[in-house]
């Protein structure tokens, strides 16, 4: 009653099919790479095909080489560097400010039910006010310079950061806190030396996620009033129907976001190896 060779190969084929649909499990590394390359190359090919098919006017859908040329042009005129730098500076200032404010408040809210009761309703409401709706107010209060743009990014990320850090702080095991008490730790020592280090990897991950929101907001701010920045460049390109420049700026924004995301992941892996599964 030994299995016949065809049955065996059928079994193997089924096993192979199952690799792709493994629920909540890893897949082999080569397959991961293959799928990741597909994820980047297939949309690019579709775009190229569609643009060169002639169905859509190249004023609306420029081809990848056109976009690459536009990008080169922007680079040569020094605009790409200037705009990218302007946007990065705004995002950095707004986000760092939000992080510096959100982190201690979030931790205090996690640690003390009193602080939570005091702040959670207010922040819960503020968080649902769309940050772009603050732009007119910010212009009235702060003018049209850098300040309102940085303030917009701050408003748009500070509340999410705070509430997410609070949630992370709630997951510090109670036993870890009690163990520290029995070692003679004070509340302040527990906050600084137990709760804070425990949530650092979560906080970095929260920053990684909310960084995306600050890039949305910098473009919103620059569309309205700015002399430079990637959002401004997109708005100018619209006026002259330079869709190739718009595409170029969008791709730059995507690449910046992607590299920031990857940097955070690397940072977490390097500094918080203890929190990772493997």
């Amino acid at each position: 009653m030994s299995p016949t060779p065809p049955a065996l190969s059928k079994l193997q084929a089924r096993q192979r099919d199952r690799v792709f649909w493994r629920l909540a499990e890893d897949i082999p590394q080569p397959l991961t790479w293959k799928l990741m390359v597909i994820s980047a190359v297939v949309p690019l090919l579709l775009w190229w095909l569609l643009a060169s098919s002639g169905w859509i006017s190249d004023k609306f859908l420029p081809s990848p080489p056109d976009v690459l040329a536009a990008m080169g042009d922007l680079w040569e005129r020094g605009l790409l560097v200037q705009d990218t730098r302007a946007s990065i500076v705004r995002v950095t200032l707004g986000f760092v400010l939000a992080a510096v404010v959100a982190t201690p408040i979030g931790i205090l809210m996690a640690a003390f039910a009193s602080i939570r009761a005091l702040l959670e309703p207010a922040i819960g409401i503020l968080r649902y006010m769309p940050a772009p709706a603050f732009v007119p107010l910010l212009i009235i209060y702060l003018g049209i310079d850098e300040a309102p743009k940085i303030a917009l990014i701050f408003i748009g990320t500070v509340f999410f950061n705070t509430l997410m850090i609070m949630d992370a702080g709630k997951f510090v095991p109670k036993a870890l806190i009690e163990a520290t008490y029995t070692l003679g730790g004070s509340r302040w020592q527990i906050l600084r030396q137990v709760i804070w280090p425990y949530i650092i990897p979560n906080v970095l991950d929260i920053f990684r996620v909310n960084m995306a929101a600050s890039w949305n907001l910098v473009v919103v701010a620059e569309l309205i009033a700015a002399s430079e920045g990637l959002g401004k460049r997109i708005e100018l390109a619209r006026k002259f129907l330079n869709t190739d420049e718009i595409f170029a700026c969008l791709i730059v924004l995507g690449l910046i976001g992607f590299s920031i995301d990857m940097s955070f992941r690397v940072l977490i892996r390097k500094t918080c190896a203890w929190s990772l599964d493997s």
Partner: protein, 270 residues
């Protein structure tokens, strides 16, 4: 006298009224003694330990350590929890040092004392490892070293080997006795495992349930140097039998009331 507890009561108020967890507890531990408190679930033995640790406050009664009232947690009462409570971002060395660090002990002395206790628990060669690299038994050994490093008056243990498999448990019990003999510290352990209690303790308090009260006390007259082989001695077995009879009798008397029966049925269902 080291630890004295008198007329201790603990009630919890819940939405369905007040629940009496512990009633009129009187117990004491002499310096260097090894005490076990055994009781079924619901006997409030964990509550008792948490009261001694200062993590909870009694409803009434007194807890004194060396003549000073216990009013909160402190490093004079080290505690080992049933769940693993090592700091995952610190090496074992840093974990064991942590209590000393909280007290502001300088780094040289911290290092020396942590190394000494890591050596006592047999993990000196793992000083630079992180908790996630360790087995459950090793984690509890580090937790013991960490609790001992601040040189507490009493070491409190809340079913420290409850999460371990049988073989590791036996090893850990022998190991704990050896640590006790080497450090001469006072140890108070709670457990539901009668065999473990007889193996470890010099004196055993038996706790009855609902509410938790001390039913009786056993003096265990076995040599301090014990190995697992002692379990074959008739004297050991008669202690175990006597305590088990006592616990069985207690659960019989309580089974007439509906609450423990339902909670037992639930426990069986899981």
């Amino acid at each position: 006298m080291s630890l004295v507890i008198s007329q201790l009561c603990k009630c919890y108020s819940t939405s369905s009224g007040s629940i009496e967890a512990l009633r009129d507890i009187n117990l004491h531990a002499e310096p260097g003694e090894f005490i076990c408190v055994v009781g079924a679930s619901g006997s409030g033995k964990s509550t008792l330990l948490r009261l001694i640790a200062g993590l909870e406050m009694p409803t009434s009664g007194e807890l004194d350590l060396n003549g000073r009232a216990i009013v909160g947690p402190g490093a004079d009462r080290g505690m080992v929890f049933q769940s693993y409570t090592l700091y995952p971002w610190m090496t074992l060395q840093k974990n064991v040092e942590f209590g000393l660090r909280l007290q502001g002990v300088n780094s040289k002395e911290r290092r020396d004392r942590a190394s000494y206790y890591l050596d006592i628990v047999g993990l000196a060669s793992f000083a630079r490892a992180y908790p996630k690299e360790l087995s459950g038994g090793m984690k509890q050994r580090v937790a013991i070293a960490r609790a001992l490093a601040t040189q507490p008056e009493v070491l409190l243990m809340d079913e420290p080997f409850g999460a371990l498999d049988v073989q590791t448990r036996e090893m850990m019990q022998e190991f704990l006795l050896e640590v006790w003999r080497r450090t001469n510290c006072t140890i108070l352990t709670i457990t539901h495992d009668v065999r473990e209690a007889v193996f470890l303790a010099q004196r055993i308090y038996v706790l009855s349930a609902h509410p938790g009260t001390i039913d009786c006390e056993f003096q265990i007259d076995l040599p301090r140097d014990r190995t697992v082989l002692i379990e074959r001695e008739p004297q050991f077995q008669s202690y175990v039998a006597a305590i088990q009879d006592r616990l069985r009798g207690l659960s019989k008397t309580t089974e007439t009331s509906p609450m423990p029966t339902t909670s037992k049925a639930k426990a069986d269902a899981h």
